[in-house]
């Protein structure tokens, strides 16, 4: 220990002039008033900033220079034998030299900051708010920089000074490590896991620092007075650690994205309108902020990986449940979407690309009930495509294309041949396109005094339900576009259009669940008391006239404090189906003919529940 300290002291003393220069540099910030743009009020701040900049620049350059020379120069000039001929162990020599080097860099930084801090600068107290906490201070960063740059400069110095073939190995291994690391990083980035990436980056950084230090120690203790053997030992140690580390990183990232539905912890999802398929996504065990998404066959254990959960509008099922499509950004080109499709009725369903791609802009879209046709409204242009071939079946501009951004746009196929387009600007505009003949008819609706935020319709499009802040719920005739009735519901009440055109309002008042039933023409005919609760979550029509909903207690969104109810609207009866279940809501594209509810949440898990048979089986989540 004394030997190491004696050696460290010697290294520091040998570099006295550098320390004096650092102190002199620390006086430079006092010249800040001479800089243009520095007012009298900001002199102190400018001085502090200058001092930090000087200290950082000096610290980094000295760290590099000292790191490259503390062992390397003595080795190259044949003077390391002096220390090796003394009773100093290899670790003592190594420790003494590097301790001295670190001490020199720390002293340089301190001396550069000393004059300014004596005058009362706040440099030592400044911190940069960030998620990394206490090390996000200037001093914290400098310590990390020193711990990284000193052994890095030493390693690079040795590699170049030794003039041996090991340099080639170093360069190749470095390239491999960087390549694999970049691939792993990209894997996480593309799969929307930035926090996990940050954690991996920090751990990798620590590994690099550790590996550099271990390799440096190995170089001194095994190479001793020989540059070549030292380089050899160092390279072997360094690259075995880094290649191993990067292999683990790569393996881990591969494992992360290879998650299956059984790995999901907090599961969310929605089901296809018909059939057994559903979209399931959520957080997964040991995978940080990566949220895998799957198409799951709820009747078996087949599933299709969909990468990471993007947003609800990502995946859309056809009404007959035979297909699912999604719009994905094209790899490498951030400005285009491409349409991908999967046939769910095949034996081994898999996502495949179509030839259809669109620019990334606001759009409205719809899928025909059989999934064979895709309609897109973008920038005022309406197009209908055949999914499998990519053929354009119709393309035209709307007569008065919506100009503004926040315009409600909804498209819906009626059968395979008729497309309905709803846009709300100053008024509701209803367009109907006959795909075969490419004939477009336009029906104008009522003027809207404020923006509409939702629109739903019956399967025949004979009744429409809209929502706006100013007019509340508007029930309209879908054929003519005329408003039948405007209802301003009570606070926290939501409206639902039934498949036969009747309107249901649900909500809670005074901690009691309430349901109101209106006719096709908007006349209130029934009010039902659903019992105590804080929120109503509507599932959908299990059968025509029979509504499934949950009455939830407490503020939490995912909770098992709920009662699942079956409401017979005609008979006016409320029946309890189960406890602890909440319907898993469909994606935000509000429309009627909501699928008969099949997926429910039980706490953080997603389950399949049949309201008729009362049979429940778990799908995903714990």
């Amino acid at each position: 220990m004394t030997g190491m300290l004696t050696l460290a002291t010697r290294e520091v003393m040998e570099r006295r002039t550098v320390l004096i220069a650092a102190l002199a540099a620390g006086l430079m910030p006092f010249a800040s008033p001479l800089f243009p743009g520095v007012t009298a009020a900001r002199v102190a701040d400018a001085r502090d900033v200058m001092a930090l900049v000087v200290a950082a620049v000096l610290g980094i350059s000295v760290a590099l220079l000292v790191g490259a020379s503390v062992v390397g120069r003595d080795l190259a000039e044949g003077r390391l034998g002096f220390d090796f001929a003394r009773p100093l162990g290899g670790l003592a020599i190594c420790g003494g030299k590097f301790l001295g080097a670190i001490a020199v860099v720390l002293l340089v930084v301190m001396l550069a900051l000393a004059p300014t801090s004596v005058v009362g600068g706040g440099i030592f107290s400044t911190s940069i708010p960030s998620s990394i906490g206490p090390i996000a201070t200037p001093l914290g960063f400098m310590l990390i920089a020193i711990l990284l740059l000193v052994p890095l400069a030493h390693a690079v110095g040795i590699a170049f000074r030794s003039r041996s073939g090991w340099l080639t190995l170093d360069l190749v291994a470095c390239a491999v490590v960087l390549l694999v690391a970049a691939t792993a990083a990209r894997r996480l980035l593309v799969n929307q896991a930035p926090r996990l990436l940050t954690v991996m980056a920090v751990l990798s950084g620590l590994l690099v620092i550790l590996a550099l230090w271990i390799a440096s120690v190995v170089q001194v203790t095994r190479g001793r007075t020989s540059l070549r053997s030292g380089h050899r030992a160092m390279s072997i140690a360094l690259w075995s650690m880094l290649l191993g580390g990067v292999a683990v990183l790569d393996g881990y990232t591969r494992w992360v994205i290879a998650a299956g539905p059984e790995d999901v912890i907090t599961a969310s999802g929605f089901s296809a309108p018909r059939g057994d398929w559903a979209v399931v996504y959520g957080t997964a065990a040991g995978r940080g902020d990566f949220e895998p998404m799957f198409l799951v066959d709820t009747a078996s254990d087949r599933f299709v990986r969909l990468g990471s959960a993007t947003f609800w509008g990502g995946v859309e099922f056809s009404d007959d449940g035979s297909r699912a499509v999604r719009l994905e950004t094209v790899d490498g080109e951030g400005d285009r979407f491409e349409l991908q499709v999967v046939d769910l009725d095949t034996e081994r369903p898999a996502m495949r690309e179509t030839t259809l791609s669109f620019p990334v802009e606001r759009f409205g879209s719809a899928l025909s009930p059989d999934g064979r046709r895709f309609a897109l409204l973008q920038g005022g242009s309406l197009s209908v495509f055949e999914v499998d071939s990519g053929k354009t079946l119709a393309a035209m501009r709307l007569p008065d294309p919506p100009a503004a951004e926040n315009v409600l746009t909804r498209l819906a196929f009626q059968g395979a041949d008729r497309l309905r387009v709803y846009t709300v600007t100053a008024s509701l505009e209803i367009h109907e396109l006959a795909v075969g003949s490419r004939a477009l008819t336009t029906i104008s609706g009522p003027a809207a005094s404020c923006a509409w935020s939702a629109l739903s319709w019956t399967p025949e499009h004979d009744r429409l339900l809209g929502w706006s802040e100013c007019a509340g719920l508007s029930l309209l005739d879908g054929r003519t576009g005329t408003t039948l009735v405007d209802i301003l519901p009570r606070k926290r009440f939501h409206g639902l259009l039934l498949s036969d055109g009747r309107l249901v309002l649900t909500g809670t008042e005074a901690a009691t669940g309430m349901l109101e039933l209106f006719t096709r023409d908007g006349v209130l005919v029934r009010t039902l008391d659903l019992g105590p609760g804080d929120r109503v979550v509507v599932g959908g029509e299990a059968e025509p006239g029979r509504l499934v909903l949950a009455l939830v207690s407490g503020p939490e969104f995912r909770t098992d404090r709920s009662r699942l109810l079956l409401v017979d609207l005609d008979a006016g009866q409320v029946e309890e189906l189960a406890e602890g279940l909440v319907p898993a809501a469909s994606p935000t594209r509000w429309r009627s003919a909501r699928p008969s509810p099949r997926l429910f949440y039980r706490g953080t898990a997603l389950v399949r529940f049949d309201p008729r048979t009362r049979q429940e089986h778990p799908l995903a989540g714990r």
């Binding site: 002096f82 001929a85 003394r86 009773p87 290899g90 001793r224």
Partner: protein, 254 residues
């Protein structure tokens, strides 16, 4: 002579067995074995490239042998280098002390590393050599550097002294001073010495055993007296013997 150091029984100062060193395909040392007994002065001779430097590096634990064992005072040179160096003094071929440190601070540095450092003796040596204490090592003459290196090597009264071509490039006065100091130390402490050198005339009187390395092998390893009497008919000058053994230029001189 008062020698109160504990004698490590059975620990030969230098024992090299089957030392082999290879650089790629080139064999620098081929199964070399030699012993240097207590109090002996061993002169290791050899042309440049004969393997002397490799041998010295392995001897001082600075290079790992490819085969064979090197032990210094009973300690493995590679594995126990620091312990062996506590009792060994080294004078290198090229003076390697930090050039920025002056003689005084060099002595102070070494003093902290050895429990047996004799400060007064070191000061007396510096005085005898006439070396200025406050001049940085890098600015001393070659001769002064060599003498300072010797003084630093002797400062902790080592049992074993290893000198690698200590008189290379030294002027006459420095050379004489070095040998006188060496001989004085031998007289006082019965130090064991291994010296590699090209200065055959200088060590002829001092060395009592000679080894000659040729192409990585020890062609000669013999008592000085015996070697000379064997060559008495031709020429007993060490220089002549050396030339004869290494096979260079003998015919020309004849």
């Amino acid at each position: 002579m008062n020698d109160s150091r504990p004698v490590t029984a059975h620990a030969v100062p230098i024992a090299i067995d089957g030392l082999t060193v290879r650089y790629g395909r080139k064999v620098a040392l081929d199964a070399v074995s030699l012993r240097v007994e207590h109090g002996a002065v061993y002169a290791l001779l050899g042309r440049n490239g004969a393997g002397k430097s490799s041998l010295v590096r392995c001897l001082l634990g600075q290079q790992k042998p490819d085969h064979g064992r090197v032990s210094l005072l009973g300690l493995d040179a590679w594995r126990n280098r620091a312990a062996a160096m506590r009792r060994t003094g080294v004078v290198p071929e090229e003076p390697d002390a930090p050039p920025g440190m002056n003689v005084k601070s060099l002595a102070a540095f070494c003093a902290r590393l050895y429990p047996t450092w004799d400060h007064d003796a070191v000061e007396q040596r510096f005085a005898r050599f006439g070396v200025p204490r406050d001049v940085p090592f890098g600015r001393l003459s070659k001769g002064q550097k060599g003498l300072v290196s010797l003084a630093l090597a002797l400062g902790h009264s080592p049992e074993l002294l290893v000198l690698d071509d200590p008189t290379l490039g030294l002027d006459v006065a420095a050379r004489r001073g070095l040998f006188e100091e060496l001989v004085g130390d031998l007289a006082d402490r019965r130090t064991t010495v291994l010296m590699t050198t090209h200065d055959l005339g200088g060590i002829e009187g001092i060395a009592d055993r000679v080894g000659i390395l040729r192409d990585g092998r020890l062609a000669v390893d013999e008592e000085m007296e015996a070697l000379k009497s064997r060559h008495a008919e031709t020429s007993s000058a060490l220089e002549e013997i050396f030339l004869a053994v290494t096979g260079e230029g003998v015919e020309a001189r004849r």
